[in-house]
Amino acid sequence: MKKRKFGLALASIFAAGSILAACGGGEEKEEKTTSDSGTTEQTSDFSVAMVTDTGGVDDRSFNQSTWEGIEAFGKENGLEKGDGGYDYLQSAAESDYVTNLNSLIRRDFDLVFAVGFALHNAVAEVADQQQDAKIAIIDEVVADKENVASIMFRANEASYLAGVAAAKESKSGKIGFIGGMTGEIIGGFQAGFEAGVAAVNPDIVVDVEYAESFTDAAKGQQIAKRMYDSGVDIIFHAAGGVGNGLFTEAKERKAKDPNANVWAIGVDRDQYDEGKVDDSTNIMLTSVLKRVDVAAQEVAKLAQEGKFPGGELITYGLSDGGVDLADSRGAISEETMTTVEEYKQKIIDGEITVPEQPEK
């Protein structure tokens, strides 16, 4: 009896194996054809790749933005996804950063983007070991490494404009700010936003609360609920996934009472789609844009031309379109927009210096 059962097990294994082998064969053929067409189209031999932080490539935030920039660069140059073209690797844990950076460098990508301040140490370590590799890190400065370019955004400038718009548009005179984790990056958003509000109306107090997370949407909703309950009508979030909780709360209130005066301001990408209640109503006032895609594309182009800004810090601000406010699609009045444009010009001209960190 035992023998029979053993035989049965073996038979089923072989059967499964042969079915799989058939599947495998089909795949291979398909792959070959795609790679063939790839080589004929290829016009450039410059390849670029990126390592995400733990947020993943579809985080609707800067990982995704960077990838969009890299994809755009790849298409422009007729590159294919994969070796010798453009590609990305996702990090599931912090310990994956170094492994992923190394594996892309070992696959001979000419330029590797490291997305997010969390990759600081990994980049510094790999840069020392792989002297020939070119790495660009986004949202963080890795100093004194000849083969690392640091890309930063003056998000405080765009946040300032969001503050101006919020202060002008607020009916209750109360405005909220939800931060992700306390630190320099989010501090920039907060400082700019508060300064912008104060520039229009110094009497408005900005209600600031940090979620101490970039992922906890429930926490975001909890904070948003408290703020709206206390009379706040516009909330700006710089908190990644936490913001989704803010949007949920605002949308629920709007769905229950179409006249409710609740607004949210998005971050990083144009989050208009996230604020949709129904076809005619949307709770998104505007979004503070960080054009990581533009920056990634530009740095890739520089590197391609042999002008990789290694060892340098490049900052993008309002003046070069690296940060901006998203189209409000009518949510912000014409009058407010004119004021916002005035302030924008002043910042670009250097008349206003936006604070980089909140006062303590």
């Binding site: 294994i13 499964a16 140490n121």
Partner: protein
């Protein structure tokens, strides 16, 4: 079938089953399973670099697995290994950067600090369980969150508002030029020797000491142990403290080896939770945990190579790895089923 044959066959069949179902998942999702598994293999064994990284990945799993297993033997379900581990991580990172000592003293001091921090974090639920009968599962789960936020706040204090602590001094590091040279700059470090030692220590405590005998007795039957004159409360607290110390040492591996500092954590590291699976895979035996950690760590590290080499997305990789582990874990079910079925036939005859 002889018993020995069953012992060899069961794990082999279960791994094979896991691989086959994993392959079906890949094939159905439109990826070539053969390429996928070649990439997995290469991600574990391709060259000295990947092998070094695999060992590095395995090391903390050994500790988190031992921590869970140790508490299990006393009948305690320590889900707080995650929190104890990050407390240990911070303690080791702090000792590593705050003091300047010769390496012979520095490394042990950092390790002891990590073990103590982990032990302290486990002592609280142990005490609550012993004195007030508060269930350790609830307390340890909650203390994972407290640990996360306490550690993030402390990193801010230690570093003066930065996102991460400073790098530890060379004298506290477990890394070595020698290991870097032979593994082509992988992050492999001497911690794996400490982990192996910990496996032996756990085996020794459980099998060769009175303490271990008492701990196991409490695990088997609390009331009987008490009747036999053992101090059940003392043993519960001790089991948690030792378990926490193992977890804390796992954190020290990250602090003194892999990262050489600590960054603010956005979410749990997952090492502590994976430790539960590692312990179950290893049937809560010290050497079983070692094997479980090797399987877990190797799959985790090899899996990283699958998106890179075979284009299989990370999500599918997680499913495939989970399937393999699932079937290995259910190997015990297969074995029990085999034995039961075999016995019945015999009786019928």
């Amino acid at each position: 079938m002889s018993k020995r044959l069953v012992n060899i066959l069961v794990p082999l069949i279960s791994i094979l089953l896991g691989l086959i179902i994993g392959a079906i998942v890949m094939a159905v999702s439109g990826f070539n399973p053969i390429d996928g598994y070649v990439a997995l293999w290469n991600g574990i064994f391709m060259d000295t670099y990947t092998m070094g990284e695999t060992v590095r990945q395995i090391t903390p799993y050994i500790f988190s697995g031992l921590a869970v297993a140790f508490a299990f033997r006393t009948g305690l379900f320590n889900i707080g290994v995650e929190g104890q581990l990050i407390m240990g991580w911070l303690a080791a990172a702090w000792v590593g950067q705050a003091f300047e000592l010769p390496a012979v003293i520095h490394v042990p001091v950092a390790l002891i600090a990590a073990a103590a921090a982990g032990a302290l974090w486990a002592f609280i639920p142990g005490l609550l369980k012993a004195k007030l009968q508060v269930h350790e599962v609830i307390v340890t789960i909650m203390m994972n969150y407290t640990a996360l936020h306490v550690v993030n706040a402390l990193i801010g204090v230690i570093s003066g508002g930065e996102e991460r602590t400073e790098k530890i001094h060379e004298s506290a590091s477990l890394r070595s030029d020698f290991l870097e040279t032979i593994t082509d700059y992988s992050r492999m470090h001497w911690g794996f020797l400490i982990a192996l030692l910990a496996v032996v220590i756990m085996w020794f405590i459980l099998q060769k000491t009175t303490l271990g005998y008492e701990l196991k007795a409490v695990g088997f039957n609390k009331n009987a142990s008490e009747y036999a004159g053992m101090n059940v409360n003392k043993n519960i607290i001790l089991a948690m403290v030792i378990s926490g110390a193992f977890a804390g040492l796992g954190g020290a591996m990250e602090a003194l080896g892999t990262f050489e500092n600590m960054s603010k954590l956005h979410a749990s590291t997952g090492i502590g939770f994976d430790g539960i699976a590692v312990a179950l895979l290893g049937a809560n035996q010290p050497f079983g945990v070692l094997l479980g950690a090797i399987l877990f760590g190797a799959l985790k590290n090899g899996g990283l190579n699958m998106p890179s080499e075979a284009g299989v997305p990370t999500e599918i990789v997680s499913i495939v790895i989970a399937l393999i582990i699932f079937f290995v874990a259910s190997g015990y079910i297969i074995r029990v089923a085999l034995e039961r079925f075999g016995k019945k036939r015999k009786e019928e005859k």
